[in-house]
Symmetry: C2
Subunit: 263 residues, 2 copies
C-alpha cells in the first residue's frame, strides 16, 4: 500500500462486533492462499465456536445447506491506514484499481466474506464444530458471522465480472520430486491430505501475478533464468518448490523446526 | 425473539468498524422488504459515501462489475440480546431454525450481506454515488463495505439450499384500483417507478408466511373472511392493499401527512 493513505479514526458512529468463532485452516501465512474460495477443495477448515456462542440450537438445520458464507475479520490486515487504490494479484500486481473494486484484505473496514463448502456439522462435548472445505482464509481468523449460501439468491447467473471475469485456469502442472514424495508419505498419518493440498495450492500458482503467465509475456532470456525457489508454510510444514515453464516441481516438504526457521 | 436470549457483552476481543456510506432506498420500514435481493428489480438504492471515504479512486474500475456485495449493519436490529433460534418467514413464521442457518437480521453480530445490481457510478461534486437496483435493504442503512460480485467465485452452481432451496414463485397477481392508478399517475413526476416498485413488492407477498400460500392451505371459511387491509410505507407514500385469492388489490397510494400518520 502506497500513496494516499487514510487514517482510521474513532467515531461516535462506530459499530463493535465480537467474534463468534475461530477458523483453523492449513494456511499459516498469507502467501499461497488461493485468491478466492473453492480453488483448493482439499484446503479444509475447522470452525470452532467461542464458548458464549457454542450452542447446538444456533446451527440447527444448517447441515441442509451445501455451502455457507463466512463473514470474517482480516485480522492480519487490521491497521491504521488504508489506500483508495490497491494492486490486485489478478492484474499482475502492477495495475491499480479502487479498493471497493477489489477483494483485497487492505480496506477501510477489514471485513472479508467467503462462501465455503460445509462438509459436516460435528457435535462435540464443547459444542458444534463446522468442518469446511475450499477455504481461502488464514489460520486463526476471527469469524463474525455464518450465513447459509442461498442458491437462488446468491447465484447471479447473469453477473459480469470486470477485470476478474474469468476463473483463473489451473496454471501449473504439479510434480513431486522423489524426496518430496517420500516426505509426504511419511507425514500422511498426521496430515492425510497434504499432497492434495500442496497440489491444489501450487496449481493456482501463488507467485505474484507479474511473475506468472496470467498477465506477462515471457522475458526474452527466460530459458537462462536460474529458477527461483519458493517456500510456503502449510500447517507446520515448510514446502519448497520451483517453477519451470508451466510446471511446479515440489522439492521438499519438511516439518518446521520452529516458526519462521529457515534452514 | 423469544426463549434463550443471550446478552451482548463488551469484550477485549471486539472489533470496531465505521460505516463508509449510507444507503438510501424506498424501504422506509421492514415490512414489505423483499426477503432476498433481486426479487424487486425496480427497488433502487442510492449509496452515498461519508466524506472521509468519498474518493473517486476508491471506486475506480468498479463499473466493470454488474453486481456488488454490500456488507451492512442491520441497524434497526442492533440490540442487547439474540436468540439461538429464529423463525424464518419462508417457513411460515412458526418453525424455528438456528440463527446461523438463517439470514435473519437478529443475530449475534448484526451484519448483513446482499448482492445488488450496480446500475451506474455517478461522479458528483461531493464524490461518487452508486446507483443500485434489486435492493432488499432498509432506507438509511449504514454500509461497512462494498466488494465486487466475482461471478466465477460467488456463483456456486452445485450449491444446494436446505429449507430455502427454491426461489419463491411470484406469489400474487397485482391489480391497481382506479383510485390507486390515478394516485400513482399523479406521483409519477416525483417517483417515476412507484407503480413498478409496488407491483414487485406485492408480487412477493410480504404478508407473514402463515397467512400466505407458501405454507398454509386455505381455511375452510376462506370466502367468508373479511379481507384484511395491509399498509406499507415506500418512500413517503402509504400504500394500502387487500389480498383476495391469489390477487393483491392496491386500494390507495397516498402521501404520508407526517411520519407514522394514520388517517
Amino acid at each position: 500500500m502506497t500513496g494516499n493513505k487514510k487514517p482510521r479514526e474513532p467515531s461516535a458512529l462506530a459499530y463493535t462486533f465480537i467474534p463468534i468463532a475461530t477458523l483453523h485452516t492449513c494456511f499459516a501465512e498469507k502467501f499461497g492462499i488461493p485468491r478466492q474460495m473453492n480453488l483448493a477443495a482439499a484446503a479444509t477448515g475447522r470452525l470452532v465456536f467461542h464458548p458464549r456462542f457454542s450452542d447446538t440450537d444456533a446451527v440447527r438445520h444448517l447441515e441442509g445447506f451445501s455451502h455457507v458464507w463466512l463473514v470474517f475479520v482480516f485480522h492480519r490486515a487490521m491497521g491504521n491506514t488504508w489506500s483508495p487504490m490497491v494492486r490486485p494479484p489478478r492484474l499482475g500486481g502492477n495495475k491499480k484499481v479502487g479498493v471497493f473494486a477489489s477483494r483485497s484484505p487492505f480496506r477501510p473496514n477489514s471485513i472479508g466474506i467467503s462462501a465455503v463448502k460445509l462438509e459436516t456439522v460435528e457435535h462435540t462435548g464443547q459444542g458444534p464444530v463446522l468442518h469446511l472445505s475450499g477455504v481461502d482464509i488464514l489460520d486463526g481468523t476471527p469469524i463474525l458471522d455464518i450465513k447459509p449460501y442461498v442458491p437462488w439468491a446468491d447465484t447471479i447467473t447473469d453477473a459480469t465480472g470486470g477485470f476478474a471475469a474469468e476463473r483463473p485456469s489451473p496454471g501449473l502442472r504439479v510434480v513431486f520430486s522423489a524426496a518430496a514424495r517420500e516426505q509426504s508419505r511419511q507425514m500422511a498419518d498426521q496430515i492425510p491430505d497434504l499432497a492434495a493440498i500442496i497440489t491444489q495450492v501450487l496449481q493456482n500458482d501463488p507467485r505474484p501475478g507479474y511473475q506468472s503467465g496470467f498477465s506477462a509475456s515471457l522475458p526474452k532470456n527466460y530459458d537462462k533464468i536460474r529458477y527461483k525457489t519458493y517456500g510456503i508454510r502449510l500447517f507446520d510444514v515448510d514446502v519448497k518448490w520451483q517453477v519451470m515453464n508451466e510446471t511446479a516441481l515440489v522439492l521438499s516438504i519438511e516439518p518446521m523446526a520452529s516458526p519462521g526457521f529457515e534452514p
